[in-house]
């Protein structure tokens, strides 16, 4: 495989032309993870401490989004979004929105489970010591909850990164699509390109796993449990 094709797999036509390849997967992953987190924090608060209508709305969103295949979330954003806000569907934007909804719902669930896992006794101890509910949240629930949810967050991050590959279905030239295009142009080398695509996905997502392990070890968190 030539250096030129390897470049096509990694960054597409960037910096002279349109970005593509692994760069798109990494960009989509980062954006979807951060947007998801930004939505998940208020949603998790709504689910845990909101008034009943908000609590129900948050729960409905989370359960629905988690019960819908990611591919359909992407198709829905392709259909509904332009109808709702005008304009035309942009495959990359639809892909990002589908991934962000998926990410928000799953991260809400991780946050909720993490905070809910803080033993009730800890909260009671805080209250008994004369702390307000707000102080209890700041000093007891949040630090403990965040610690508990870090392993789950990293294993979700790995799965979100892998899930960015489905955007190839709406025509985004990500790593998978780039590999397929390369393989279609040179059918006799199909195995080389599949191997190259797998290796790139592996290296990138393994890096996320390693980063997660590193952080867990440094802060001596509990070992992650299978997702």
């Amino acid at each position: 495989m030539s250096a030129e094709l390897l470049r096509f797999l990694l960054v597409g036509g960037w910096p002279d032309g349109a970005p593509g390849g692994l760069l798109i997967n990494l960009a989509l992953f980062t954006a979807a993870f951060l947007i998801g987190l930004a939505i998940a924090v208020p949603l998790a608060v709504m689910r845990l401490a909101g008034p009943p209508p908000l609590r129900f709305a948050a729960a409905a969103f989370v359960e629905l989004a988690r019960a819908t295949p990611l591919l359909l979330l992407v198709f829905w954003s392709l259909f509904l979004l332009p109808l709702a806000v005008g304009g035309y569907p942009n495959p990359l934007a639809s892909a990002l929105i589908g991934l962000a909804v998926h990410s928000a719902a799953n991260q809400t669930e991780i946050l909720r489970a993490g905070f809910a896992a803080v033993p009730a006794g800890e909260v009671e101890a805080g209250l008994a010591a004369g702390m307000s509910r707000f102080q209890t949240s700041i000093h007891i629930v949040i630090p403990q909850g965040v610690r508990r949810m870090v392993p789950a967050h990293f294993s979700f991050a790995v799965s979100l990164f892998k899930d960015t590959a489905v955007v190839y279905v709406v025509g985004v030239v990500d790593l998978l699509q780039a590999g397929l295009i390369a393989a279609e142009r040179r059918p006799s080398e199909i195995l080389t390109y599949y191997l190259a695509v797998a290796a790139c996905f592996f290296l990138a997502s393994f890096t996320i796993t390693l980063a997660g392990r590193c952080i867990e070890r440094r802060w001596s968190f509990a070992r992650p449990v299978a997702a």
């Binding site: 032309g17 392709l78 109808l83 279905v169």
Partner: protein
């Protein structure tokens, strides 16, 4: 959590999204004149019609024709990537102003959108298979036929094979033409069915090992799609297209792609011409 309530909220969401008020029915022409921008839908993975080359540029016959049309209409192109599945819905919903996207005119599509006149490329569907494997289309009965999801080959291929009698074929629809060709090379399907210019480009380097089965069928009259019920805009696009045919711009683009010295020479003339015995193969344009 109860199972029922989220389902009903999905319904509410969907209905809310669908019952949005229709846009005010001004002609697209007014908007294009005002803004100086025309939104053209084209595919990005269908050589030689429209694709993105390895340096990330949009190229292809449809791209060049679309650019020339926009020039005529004195507007800048805003390019919208469409695929075979989204191109009709986008027009029908008024989200793009026209499609120049290798689209054959069919009755079912005409019910949803309108076409500028004349069709700009006259093609046909072709079955493509291992050389010498099938003597004629009749032998494809009961075989596995690959198509691209969104191409009207899904309907046309089965209808054509049915004309010869015998078992109905198993039609397999892939997300991309290139995936169908890979499947054909690997023997996962027995024949692939697509429009003649697209097959010519897809076949590319397969050389002599694959060939057309029988002759072309199901006329693929490629038409420029426009949103429905806007005859002012439709006329503007038709006249612009005919102007391009008259002033030789069309001819130049055609020869560069499909002429004998073009990138993908076509065996049969695909230019929109009138019948030779009546008009001496005059180009298909309307008199003033």
């Amino acid at each position: 959590m109860p199972v029922r309530r989220p389902l009903s909220s999905l319904f509410a969401l969907a209905l809310a999204a669908c019952s949005l008020p229709a846009a005010v029915a001004d002609s697209v022409l007014d908007r294009v004149r005002e803004s100086g921008v025309v939104r053209i839908g084209t595919g990005n993975d269908t050589p030689p019609m429209s694709y993105i080359d390895e340096s990330g540029r949009w190229v292809g016959f449809d791209i060049e024709l679309g650019n020339a049309l926009a020039d005529r209409l004195k507007a800048k192109v805003e390019r919208v990537a469409v695929n075979n599945k989204t191109r009709i819905a986008l027009l029908a919903n008024g989200q793009i102003d026209m499609t120049v996207s290798n689209r054959s005119q069919t009755r079912s599509r005409e019910e949803q959108v309108d076409y500028a006149s004349p069709p700009y490329l006259w093609t046909a569907k072709i079955f493509y298979a291992k050389q010498g494997r099938f003597a004629g289309i009749g032998e494809l009965a009961g075989k596995r036929i690959g198509v691209n999801q969104g191409s009207n080959a899904f309907t046309a291929a089965a209808q054509e094979i049915a004309r010869y009698g015998g078992e109905a074929p198993q039609v397999v629809s892939f997300q991309k033409n290139a995936e169908g060709m890979t499947a054909l090379r690997q023997g996962k399907i027995d024949a692939f069915c697509q429009d003649s210019p697209i097959i010519a480009a897809l076949a590319g380097d397969t050389g002599g090992s694959f060939a057309a089965v029988g002759t072309g069928f199901s006329p693929g009259l490629y038409g420029i799609g426009v949103p429905p019920n806007d005859s002012k805009w439709r006329d503007a696009v038709s006249f612009a297209l005919q102007d391009l045919i008259k002033d030789g711009t069309y001819e130049r683009i055609y020869l560069a792609w499909f002429g004998p010295a073009g990138r993908y020479p076509l065996a049969l003339d695909a230019r929109p011409r009138l019948p030779p015995d009546a008009f001496g193969a005059m180009m298909y344009v309307w008199p003033d």
